[in-house]
Symmetry: C2
Subunit: 147 residues, 2 copies
Amino acid sequence: MSQVQATLHLEDQLCFPLYAASRMIIQAYREPLEALGLTYPQYLVMMTLWEKDGQAVNEIGKKLFLDSGTLTPLLKRLEASSLIKRIRSEADERRVEIELTFQGKSLKSKAAGIPAMILETLNSWESQELNSLKFELEKLVATLNQT
Amino acid sequence: MSQVQATLHLEDQLCFPLYAASRMIIQAYREPLEALGLTYPQYLVMMTLWEKDGQAVNEIGKKLFLDSGTLTPLLKRLEASSLIKRIRSEADERRVEIELTFQGKSLKSKAAGIPAMILETLNSWESQELNSLKFELEKLVATLNQT
DNA sequence: TCATTTTAAATTGATTACAATTGAATTTAA
DNA sequence: TTAAATTCAATTGTAATCAATTTAAAATGA
């Protein structure tokens, strides 16, 4: 039986399965997202914008735990794909606000089927099991976000 | 209450907390690993070698789910740090076997305290809770590895 | 044998991720 | 009000991740 211990062995540490699972599930998104011309982090940004258009780089970064070093080039690529516009705020010229283009808004309906596709990949899993895993991971994020 | 659903909302998908938690816990390793001159993926490679020295790139890759595109430059950096030697196998010249140097072996004792330091970061967590989370993540890796 | 296939590592190119710094705008406080 | 501190995005540099391809070696089969 697996146990969390303070040892130097790969199989004893929480971090490795977390790291591996994260990469593998992002991998599962690759094919469906490729059809939309998006990478996984770009998809996350688009989702935050589909929820609320016109957010500043800063706000997006707080939600995704990403900084401008990651977001600025990513957003430039989304702009180059004509999915968003980057607009320097007039009220506060430090801010850059991100607005969806028509194409960016249209992409939402094409992306609508993706979550269900991913759940199908996990079809051997009980919904309850996924909920509990998600809940524990959210708690972990909250714990790690304090420090 | 959180629920795993097939929607396009950040908070409804399993993947995002997985992605966020993975990056945050790797972040928690950064400071202790910096003292050893290692990044997190380099630490994973060193751990596999501390468990079994002399493995080929291929074998390390299977354990960490990484390919030569990631490992070759990473291993070259570890070699430049004098922690490992990359040795072309004589029996099979396609293979490159990785051997720890004296310094590489010595680093193990310096790394010994790291897992306990990370557990301290999670000190509000019950050991049972961590075990169960780890177990679920390992199951997830197994599921995703099949597809 | 010798052509074909497979395997292993390396390489190339694109994208993230993140520390550290910069430059500019805004806010705070003296 | 003005100097200092803070905030925001961008930039720079290093490292990782992964797809796709390349090169070489080894294994397979006709």
